[in-house]
């Protein structure tokens, strides 16, 4: 048979085999017409069973949820544990998680891995290869990310990152493509050993190793959003009223400008200060787990937030609402439904 066939490019011949195989319900007998094609055809037969990448990622995160819920359930079945244990935070998350929207989310994930030992938890790609959503664990915190698009512009975020060795992490971040703002120093007013750098995606990173720091409610979280705001002092009552935040300590200048403030929401903290010099406002996206998304949404609206999206059940198992604060930051208020 091969000799009777006109000489055609191998790519064409292979595609005929693939096409015949894909439309056929039957397993094809050894249909490969010649020696070059046969081993390639064998590979394509196996590729019919190739799993969907999204399925692999989704099942993984589903198992992670089940695993974290079954921790205290003894030998009870995962299904029973899932039905029972409903908690308002998705397992692995704390109250505040930055959602950093970038151009080049895959590269950003690589940066998080190379610079900060990030561990990819979930990656949901779109058909065009860009990422709809991804989660990377950094220390005991999580950073969510996704690719920007026409509707959703990039939203870089400044992050205060606690690490064991600020100097070593700083050097690794430089090697991973970041640029130094200043090297870690003991002279920072926080008392921590503290350095600052900028990554290629527009985020600032404040790399710190704590010395005499007052830990937050759960101890230090590795990942803390740091918001530089114009008229930052107005953010404090807004956070209190909108999200029930608590002021854990604010330092102001004599004329009332915020030098630094730590605000707690639920079990996590964020920091704010008055925008100055190189540290200018960057409207960012924060993902906050709250016990009751509907109630918190209503409360935030009363406090002066504007609506981005009223509360809705999301297919990924959260009830979620979106609001914008008067400073232009977007807050997603989510309650984990525990499926």
């Amino acid at each position: 048979m091969p000799r009777n066939l006109p000489k055609r490019p191998l790519a064409e011949q292979l595609d005929e085999v693939v096409q015949a195989m894909l439309v056929s319900l039957q397993q094809r007998p050894e249909a490969a017409p010649h020696r070059t094609l046969a081993p390639l055809a064998a590979i394509t037969r196996e590729l019919r069973y190739l799993p969907r990448e999204e399925f692999r990622a989704t099942l993984k995160s589903d198992l992670q949820r089940r695993a974290s819920m079954s921790v205290n359930e003894g030998t009870e079945s995962a299904a029973a544990a899932t039905a029972k244990a409903v908690h308002y935070m998705r397992p692995g998350f704390t109250s505040i998680t930055p959602y950093i929207i970038v151009n080049g989310a895959s590269q950003f994930i690589d940066f998080l891995k190379n610079a900060f030992d990030g561990v990819e938890r979930l990656r949901v790609p779109m058909p065009d290869g860009r990422l709809m959503h991804a989660e990377v664990a950094v220390g005991n915190g999580i950073i969510e990310t996704g690719d920007a698009n026409e509707q959703i512009p990039p939203a870089p975020t400044d992050i205060h990152l606690y690490v064991n060795d600020a100097d070593a992490t700083f050097d690794r971040a430089l090697a991973a493509g970041a640029t130094s703002i200043y090297r870690p120093t003991d002279e920072h007013p926080s008392g921590d050993r503290w350095g600052a750098l900028k990554d290629p995606f527009g985020n600032n990173w404040y790399i710190a190793t704590p010395k005499d720091w007052t830990p937050g409610p759960e101890g230090l979280r590795s990942v803390q959003p740091y918001l530089h705001l114009r008229e930052a002092h107005k953010m404090i009552p807004f956070l209190e009223n909108a999200f029930g935040a608590e002021d854990l300590g604010t330092h102001k200048t004599p004329d009332g400008r915020v030098l630094h403030s730590t605000m707690r929401i639920g079990k996590a903290t964020l920091e704010i200060d008055e925008a100055h010099g190189a540290y200018q406002p960057k409207p960012c996206v924060l993902h906050v787990y709250v016990p009751d998304a509907d109630a918190m949404y209503a409360q935030a609206m009363r406090a002066g937030a504007t609506s981005v999206e009223p509360p809705t059940d999301k297919p990924y198992g959260d009830r979620s609402a979106g609001v914008k604060d008067p400073f232009g930051n977007t807050w997603y208020l989510n309650t984990y439904l525990g499926r």
Partner: protein
């Protein structure tokens, strides 16, 4: 088909004796097409032993902390999925059953005992049983069904290893090639559709498909990723 013990929920099927499982997994870890040379045998046995010891540690870690089950999932997803996918008729069923297997495995992890039986054998036993359960359910509901899964003939751990490695290699293809493979074989799109989606000519897509498959073939033969 029998239940592994009252109430633990893991149905098992005896399609191979545990001893032969073990030996076949051992065989499957050998590179295809290469005869084991006697002088290498002790070193390779050591390598296998340490790989098994490593897996044993992963299992123990997951038994004491279910959050560590991740590592086992990463290690075995392709095997379990490939095993199931080749035995059922559609992707949705394969995904369903794969979820079922890993959820059952996670829920019953404490009942897994080492005794030299590789973890993958335990997973595949759950998988085999899930497939049979499903086909029996189907045959009760719809009396006319396909043949039940034929484990005797198809159950070959070497083939499972081979397929799992191929799936792993697809993930490491150059991006354009990987996308064409995904779109063609997973999404089952036509060459024309893929060409439109990627903004390339049909000829270019066929070339990418060929290059991807040639590369996979070469890597499978080389035995290395």
């Amino acid at each position: 088909v029998f239940l592994d013990g009252p109430g633990n929920g893991v149905a098992t099927v005896t399609f191979l004796a545990p001893g032969s499982y073990y030996s076949r997994v051992m065989m499957a870890t050998r590179r295809p097409g290469k005869k084991k040379l006697p002088r290498k045998s002790s070193a390779s046995r050591e390598a296998k032993t340490s790989a098994h010891a490593e897996e044993h540690l992963l299992v123990e870690a997951a038994q004491s902390d279910p959050a560590r089950f991740d590592a086992l999932y990463e290690l075995h997803f392709e095997r379990v999925y490939g095993f199931i996918a080749a035995r059922v008729h559609d992707r949705a069923t394969a995904e369903d059953l794969t979820s079922e297997v890993f959820c059952k495995a996670l829920a019953n992890l404490k009942s897994y005992e080492w005794r030299g039986v590789p973890f993958v054998a335990w997973l595949l036993r759950i998988a085999g049983n899930a497939i049979i359960d499903r086909s029996q359910r189907a045959s009760r509901e719809h009396p006319i069904v396909d043949d039940p899964p034929d484990f005797g003939a198809k159950h070959d751990l070497r083939a499972i290893e081979h397929r799992a490695r191929l799936f792993q290699l697809v993930k490491r293809l150059p991006e354009a090639q990987r996308r064409v493979v995904q779109e063609r074989f997973v999404d089952q799109r036509s060459i024309r559709e893929i060409a439109e989606r990627l903004g390339k000519s049909e000829g270019a897509i066929k070339q990418l498909q060929l290059r991807a498959i040639e590369r996979l073939r070469a890597q499978m033969e080389g035995g290395h990723a």
